[in-house]
């Protein structure tokens, strides 16, 4: 028995094409795509009404607050948010309480995830114990336990010797290291990006150059160690030439950017709106435009939600004291579609940065519409307009910068391994 999606606008990130046709799923896998599918008795046929059908999103860097802060986000609530956002694979962060830095904690997290959600969860582990930047974690054991990448999240391993050893060790095991790129002493205490806006608001600020400085150091270390490296967020124009050079020189380097840095700029902070406080801080409009362009050309590979739940208490504080981060699982796709509607890039290019590219980087079979690929799919209407109300979000934390924003593009359905996990028609939100 097959599941046939007919009358769909198929967005194929692998071929970079969009075609009108149908897609057939059997036993959790895509078996065929084409202009016309031939349904047999017992097959389930779903008329997509000409809406977009694409691989489910693979989101690298989702924070689920288990263990430690389940009141902010649990695997259950994150899974619901992901399903509603068309995210079929969450690659979770280890910056929990305590950090995920031992195989035992990693196994606990993997078990919790399996019990709580149908969305695929792939955990990352810390690169150094307690994310303290002093001693590397048991990278080998953690890989065996299922860690897909190693990262200290928003903490930079400031000690270059520690970092170079961890990279060397990771290289020997083929492990992917994900780093935050900010010169740590320059960015210490900063709540905004240096410039007119930060000066006007009197906020402690960091030069955009701090990102390039950190990337320059890391590129030298990658040249030295040969490790597999991914920069979590490249958000400034000044860092792009260093990234381009590293790729041209054949280093095993990729880069990501959060959806917030692609769609918002520093001015959005306005009168100290703490829901716009993220790490690194929002940048100038010139930087935003440069980074959007870098996604369009493929220099920046991956778009993430950088989903970071924070409760009201940690955000209702003076801007400098307020916690950083924004939730993004449910708004990732509609916000990303702003780039499509603005004419910055076509749909396959945009979708590729959230599907095929992250899947490839992690060696996953997802992110494709070709025969044999897992039937992880999202059906969305790219044009449907709506005004976001943060209270409708499924995340336990509602700290979105898009509250009250006009968005265009809604998810209609989400499938993991051919099983429907979200249906906009029957969803109660």
């Amino acid at each position: 028995m097959s599941l046939i999606f007919k009358n769909a606008r198929l967005i194929d990130p692998e071929t970079g094409t969009e075609t009108h046709g149908s897609l057939t799923v059997r036993d959790g896998r895509i078996v065929d795509t084409g202009a016309e599918a031939h349904a047999q008795g017992g097959d389930e046929v779903l008329d997509c009404g000409g809406l977009c059908l694409a691989p489910g999103l693979v989101d690298i860097g989702v924070k689920v607050c288990e263990p430690g802060e389940r009141h902010k986000e649990s695997f259950r609530s994150a899974g619901q948010a992901a399903a509603a956002g068309g995210v079929t694979t969450m690659v979770t962060r280890p910056d929990t309480l305590p950090s995920i830095d031992t195989p035992e904690t990693l196994e606990f997290v993997a078990r919790r995830a399996r019990e709580a959600t149908a969305v695929r969860v792939l955990p990352m582990a810390a690169l150094t114990k307690g994310r303290e930047g002093r001693e590397m974690t048991e990278i080998g054991f953690l890989l065996d336990a299922g860690a897909v990448a190693f990262t200290d999240c928003d903490r930079v391993v400031a000690d270059t010797k520690v970092f170079s050893r961890a990279l060397t060790y990771a290289r020997s095991l083929g492990a992917l290291v994900i780093a935050h790129v900010q010169d740590p002493s320059l960015s210490h205490g900063a709540a905004a990006t240096s410039g007119k806006f930060a000066s006007l608001r009197g906020l402690p600020a960091v030069s955009a150059m701090a990102e390039r400085m950190a990337l320059d150091r890391d590129m030298a270390l990658i040249e030295m160690t040969g490790a597999r490296y991914h920069a979590d967020q490249i958000t400034t124009a000044r860092a792009l030439p260093a990234l381009e050079r590293a790729k041209r020189n054949g280093l095993d380097v990729t880069a990501g950017v959060s959806i917030h840095h692609l769609t918002l700029n520093e001015i959005d902070v306005a009168d100290y709106r703490t829901f716009f406080k993220v790490k690194p801080p929002l940048r100038s409009e010139d930087d935003r435009r440069a980074v959007v362009e870098a996604v369009a050309t493929g220099l920046i590979d991956i778009i993430t939600s950088m989903h970071t739940p924070q409760d009201e208490e940690s955000k209702r504080l003076p801007f400098e004291e307020a916690a950083s981060g924004a939730v993004g699982l449910e708004t990732l796709l509609p916000a990303a579609l702003r780039l499509y509607h603005a004419g910055d890039m076509d749909l396959p290019t945009l979708i590729r940065a959230m599907t095929l590219n992250p899947a490839r980087r992690l060696g996953l079979p997802q992110g494709r519409l070709s025969a044999g690929a897992p039937a992880d799919l999202v059906l969305f209407d790219p044009d449907a307009p709506f005004v976001l109300d943060r209270e409708t979000l499924r995340s336990k934390s509602k700290n979105t910068p898009f509250d009250g924003a006009r968005m265009q593009g809604r998810v209609r359905g989400t499938w993991v391994a051919g099983q429907r996990i979200y249906d906009a028609e029957t969803s109660n939100a």
């Binding site: 240096s194 410039g195 007119k196 806006f197 930060a198 000066s199 006007l200 608001r201 009197g202 906020l203 600020a205 030069s207 009168d271 100290y272 208490e313 209702r316 504080l317 003076p318 801007f319 400098e320 004291e321």
Partner: protein, 315 residues
């Protein structure tokens, strides 16, 4: 145009006409404060609470006196020692205070934007008495009043602001106010104490004191905080004094009738030479203190009028 503000959180939201209206009323309050009976009933029946999350003797005294001269019931809360230390958040503190039905809340806080945050949670008029490095609106208004009375106008003057611009809320508020009133502004200081992107504010930036002071009408000095003195931002106090301290030699580059201002408290021998500070022909530093009380009386009076109007409209 009337003064339409609900709060006084900064100079930025004010229209030039509102600034003028406030200064005009402040002129009346200077006269009142100099008269035999220094009392009015403008704020009679109203409660004013001064919440200072950061130490201040002068500003707090000035606000207290301003409130008392207008007949308000004034209470001071020293927030450094209060429940804030016990972990209460700013919002909770605001809600607690709000329940006491104050009419005017005067707030100083060490973090930029904290007073804005607090103002969103209370239903009385809030006056910013300085938030982090953001704004200190009554200081800029008292400086403006001092200049206007001394120079006879508050436009087309050449004004130099000197010293630690980066960490100064006084500099920010003055820059905005004097810019709104169409003056020519120069900022003078070492580059380590200059905020980034400052040239976009429509002012000229100088690193050399003599060059920057050339032919200015007004010299505004800023206080250099002790914690900035030792090696972090400048090499030493004495090198700073040598290059940026205001002495007779440097002041000679300004116009012969240029006035010297300082928001206080002064570090004599660091940013300003003692004899300049005491020179009654040049220094208007004591006058600034007097204007401070009048400007605060005017600000609280105008906000209270708007508050009463809103309340009677709602009733």
């Amino acid at each position: 145009m009337a003064f339409t503000q609900t709060h006084l959180l900064g100079i930025e939201p004010l229209a030039p006409a509102e600034i003028t209206a406030l200064l005009n009323l402040a002129d009346d309050y200077v006269a009142l404060s100099r008269s035999a009976n220094k009392h009015s009933d403008a704020l009679a029946g109203l409660t004013q609470i001064n919440m200072f999350f950061e130490n201040s003797t002068r500003t707090q005294a000035s606000f207290e006196l301003a409130g008392r001269r207008l007949g308000a019931d004034v209470m001071n809360m020293a927030m450094q020692m209060s429940s804030v230390k016990k972990g209460e958040t700013l919002i909770d503190t605001a809600l607690t205070l709000n329940a006491m039905q104050p009419d005017l809340l005067v707030v100083r806080h060490p973090q930029s934007g904290a007073v804005d945050l607090l103002a969103q949670k209370v239903n009385c008029a809030v006056l910013n008495a300085g938030d982090g490095r953001h704004e200190h609106p009554t200081q800029a208004l008292l400086d403006a009043l001092t200049i206007r009375r001394r120079k006879g106008r508050l436009h087309r003057l050449s004004i130099a602001i000197c010293g630690d611009i980066a960490h100064s809320r006084v500099a920010r508020s003055n820059l905005i106010l004097l810019g709104k009133m169409e003056n020519r502004i120069r900022l003078i200081g070492p580059p380590t104490l200059m905020p980034s992107g400052i040239a976009d504010f429509g002012c000229e930036v100088y690193e050399d004191m003599a060059e920057g002071l050339k032919d200015v009408d007004v010299v505004m000095m800023l206080r250099l905080q002790k914690e900035r003195m030792d090696g972090g931002f400048i090499p030493s106090e004495r090198e700073y004094y040598h290059r940026y301290g205001l002495d007779a030699e440097k002041l000679a580059h300004a116009k012969p009738d240029a006035i010297v201002m300082h928001p206080g408290p002064m570090n004599r021998g660091v940013e300003i030479d003692g004899t300049i500070a005491d020179d009654i022909n040049r220094s208007v530093i004591q006058e600034q203190v007097e204007m401070g009380v009048a400007v605060r009386m005017a600000a609280m009076d105008l906000l209270a009028r708007n508050l009463r109007a809103r309340r009677s409209a709602a009733a």
